[in-house]
Amino acid sequence: MSAAERGELEHAPTAEHGLETSTGLDNRKLLMWLFLGSECLFFGSLIAAYLLYRDQSLVPPCPADCVIDGVAHQGLFDIPFTSVSAFVLLISSLTMVLALAAIQRGDQKGLRVWLFATAALGILFLAGQAFEFTEFYREGLTLSTNLFGTTFYVLTGFHGAHVTVGVLILLSLFVMSLRGQLSPAKSLNVELAGLFWHFVDVAWIAIFTLIYLIQA
């Protein structure tokens, strides 16, 4: 590794300086991969807690139709609605890919369009989540109602917080691009945001499958 680039590792992209690392992977990209590995354990723990307490609630409401103490209760989950919002998040991964492709070929306009689209889809997802939470709250589900309320809100809430952070990063990149601070040489910034965004998306697919779709 050449000495001159040492200090620029935190922000300078690889391509510009021909920087070499021992693994060939940019420092920041390696950091992001390790961070996402760590995040897997984070969401894994939350999902595990949810699954451990699945069907253990002593009082309604339940996620799906259930019978507690001989009384039948209707489930809260609205699968079609959540499927749509999951689809929205899924599409945002596509627009994210398009944003990265745009910056890599130097298409600033495309970059802005797709960054904004990704952020907007993220916001749409969050709006859907806010709507869902409000609905559930109206049906009597709070954080303290039962084990379902506790594990559900905390799991999906932390996911929502991740989406929010992702949206903030995307909007920051969008503003940087407007100010002309996002040259193709800095495409790594977009790539890193993309990695995080895809992870949040994949995490949602896991949550959607395990929590919403599979009702043991």
């Binding site: 590794m1 050449s2 000495a3 001159a4 680039e5 040492r6 200090g7 620029e8 590792l9 935190e10 922000h11 300078a12 690392t21 021992s22 693994t23 992977l25 420092n27 390696l30 950091l31 390790l34 961070f35 590995g37 760590s38 995040e39 354990l41 984070f42 723990s45 939350l46 807690a49 451990l52 307490y53 253990q56 609630s57 002593l58 009082v59 954080l143 303290s144 039962n146 084990l147 309320g149 506790t150 594990t151 809100y153 905390v154 932390f158 920051s172």
Partner: protein, 640 residues
């Protein structure tokens, strides 16, 4: 501010040297320490701060030992006792051993792999400031109980592993504890990412993975353990806080919650944590023994892979903390087996250390003493660990002083002895002065003897049926004598620490300077001047072998006997190869600029935490501080 200006543009080696000479090595006063991103300075900050916390934790231990010295105690009530032992454990683990290890990562890793700094210097500064903030936040809890001078202590009181549902009941001390651990977790994770990336990515040309010094390997294993274990405790602490602050039901039995969930989560983190604490010390010992035996580490690849094996296996043994919770015969058998098997790679390490000493020419310097202390005490810790894996026997030992003795054998007899070995070994590298040998040996002997008369009696106490965490005990149980002995031992240890402090003061004031390589070292850091210049390597070295620096000094003849390389006038003494002698080379070194923003971002975290306890408005303030810090940091150019 001078140094900040210096960092804004490329500086040259000669310029830096001139600056160093004119300022007598002190480049910029207190402010330069606050904004520093230099891994060596951050390492020193880590070390000094952790040592101060070590004194806190030690003081707490002294009060505990005095109270237990006799059945009547010294008037510490149960409430105070519970808070003190909780803080003693929490402090020693999260504010002493982990950050002391982090100090060594900081000081040594870039030097050992031939790099100018860590991969993310400002993230590194952030780690330190978050650690400091978390440590202070945690200790502030002492003042929340009322009038502290009237003995009304705050602080958490549910033990360092905060078992639910007891930890749901305590006062705000528990909130401080949980939030403090979350803050400290951010620091550890940032450090873990940084050092994993640094080691994987920043190695000098030729520094292949299997040429890395053992300490680097153990740091890498530790970093991965931190990266994967910390999120689990993070989730557990969030669950606890949601239960406490927002009436969630994770551990609420009345709503069907299971208190054992906490134990599983805590120990799934907690056992890897044990190895997070001990692997760095093992790495240090693996560096010290070869240097003073004047032989390479015996069975290098086996020591490396046994370390990795330990790191992997540490994920499969967590429930051995829970044998008595009624997990059932299958689970207890499985975890008993895995716990027995983790002894195998641990034994491999010990035998290889013996192999390193074997056939050497052992020089009895203080770092070696502490390393020998490490091995001899860690063996007892390991053997008592095997005894715990005999599950039915553990039904008797669980939660007794036998366990207290066991983990102090590992964490004090192991980690602390190892860390002191490191302090004595590398002190000259960063201060240019040796620690005094006479005081050092007195320190060792007093600590070694004190350690044995503190913790071996605790084994007897445990077998005589004394449970841990009791603030008093009745007369007539046969515990009086051994408790008194243990207390005397604790004070012997305290005295030994005083000797260490005196030694540091004397040595720092001494006029005697030491060269770059006082121990005839084997690894790259000894090729650099002492103290190491800010840029570390004037020229990044090219590594040709394991123990590369040693191979610059010696060649092996055909019988495997080392022969010194004849000093060649053209090359200069090998020890000087990487020092500043190339003053005239106008090598441009971009040093990372100092930055205040890591500190500002770090400040946001305790404000958010305090807000969660007292007033949610503060949460917004803290979040704003954090955001300002992060954005300013992101937008600030790292160099130039």
């Amino acid at each position: 501010m001078a140094s900040e200006a210096a960092g804004r543009r490329p500086i040259t080696v000669s310029e830096t040297l001139r600056q160093l000479r004119t300022q007598g090595g002190d480049y910029g006063g207190v402010w330069s320490w606050i904004v520093t991103v230099d891994h060596k300075r951050i390492g020193i900050l880590y070390g000094v701060t952790a040592f101060v916390f070590f004194l806190f934790g030690g003081l707490e231990a002294m009060v505990l030992r005095l109270q237990l010295s006799n059945p009547d105690g010294i008037g510490v009530n149960a409430d105070q006792f519970n808070r003190l032992f909780t803080m003693h454990g929490t402090t020693m683990i999260f504010l002493v051993v982990m950050p002391l290890s982090a100090a060594f990562f900081n000081l040594l890793i870039p030097l050992m792999i031939g790099a100018r700094d860590v991969a993310f210097p400002r993230l590194n500064a952030f780690s330190y400031w978050v650690f400091l903030a978390g440590g202070i936040f945690m200790n502030v809890s002492f003042f929340t109980g009322g009038n502290i001078f009237a003995g009304e202590l705050g602080a958490p009181d549910a033990g360092w592993f905060g078992y639910a549902p007891l930890s749901l009941r305590g006062d705000t001390g528990i909130d401080y504890w949980a939030l403090g651990l979350l803050i400290l977790g951010v620091s550890s994770m940032a450090g873990g990412f940084n050092f994993a990336v640094t080691i994987l990515n920043m190695r000098a040309p030729g520094m292949a993975l299997l040429r890395m010094p053992l300490f680097v390997w153990m740091t890498l294993a530790t970093a991965f353990l931190i990266i994967f274990a910390m999120p689990i405790i993070t989730v557990a602490l969030f669950q606890l806080l949601f239960d406490r602050l927002f009436d969630a039901n994770f551990f609420n039995v009345a709503a069907g919650g299971n208190p054992l969930l906490w134990q599983h989560m805590f120990w799934l983190f907690g056992h890897p944590e044990v190895y997070i604490l001990i692997l760095p010390a093992m790495g240090i010992v693996s560096e010290v023994l070869p240097a003073f035996s004047r032989k390479p580490l015996f069975g290098y690849p086996f020591v490396v892979f046994s370390g990795i094996a330990i790191a992997f296996m540490s994920w499969s043994v967590w429930a051995h903390h829970m044998y008595t919770t009624g997990l059932g015969t299958v689970a207890n058998s499985a975890f008993g087996m895995s716990t027995l098997l983790i002894a195998v790679p641990t034994g491999v390490k010990i035998f290889n250390w013996l192999g390193t000493l074997w056939g050497g020419s052992i020089r009895f310097k203080t770092p070696l003493y502490f390393s020998i202390g490490f091995i001899s005490m860690f063996v007892i810790g390991g053997l008592t660990g095997i005894m715990h894996s005999i599950v039915p026997a553990d039904y008797q030992q669980q939660d007794t002083y036998f366990v207290v003795a066991h983990f102090h054998q590992v964490l004090f007899g192991g980690a602390i002895f190892g860390l002191f070995a490191g302090i004595y070994y590398w002190f000259p590298k960063f201060t240019g002065r040796l620690l005094h040998e006479g005081w050092g040996k007195a320190h060792f002997w007093l600590m070694f003897i004190g350690f044995n008369i503190t913790f071996q009696p605790m084994m007897i106490l445990g077998l005589l049926g004394m449970p841990r965490r009791i603030s008093s005990y009745p007369d007539g149980f046969g515990w009086n004598l051994w408790n008194m002995v243990a207390t005397l031992g604790a004070f012997t240890i305290a005295l030994s620490i005083l000797l260490f402090i005196i030694n540091v003061i004397i040595s720092l004031r001494s006029k005697e300077r030491v060269g770059p390589d006082p121990w005839d070292g084997r690894t790259l850091e000894w090729s650099l001047p002492s103290p190491v210049p800010p840029y570390n390597f004037a020229q990044i070295p090219t590594v040709k072998a394991r123990d590369d620096f040693w191979h610059q000094k010696y060649v092996e003849d055909q019988a495997g006997r080392p022969v010194p390389v004849v000093a060649d006038g053209a090359q200069g003494a090998p020890a000087n190869e990487h020092d500043g002698s190339e003053e005239d080379h106008e090598v441009h070194i971009h040093m990372p600029s100092p930055s205040i923003f890591p500190l500002i971002a770090a400040l946001g975290l305790p404000i958010i935490a305090a807000g969660l306890i007292y007033d949610y408005a503060l949460v917004a303030v803290g979040a704003a501080v954090l955001m300002v810090g992060i954005y300013a940091w992101a937008l600030e150019p790292p160099t130039e």
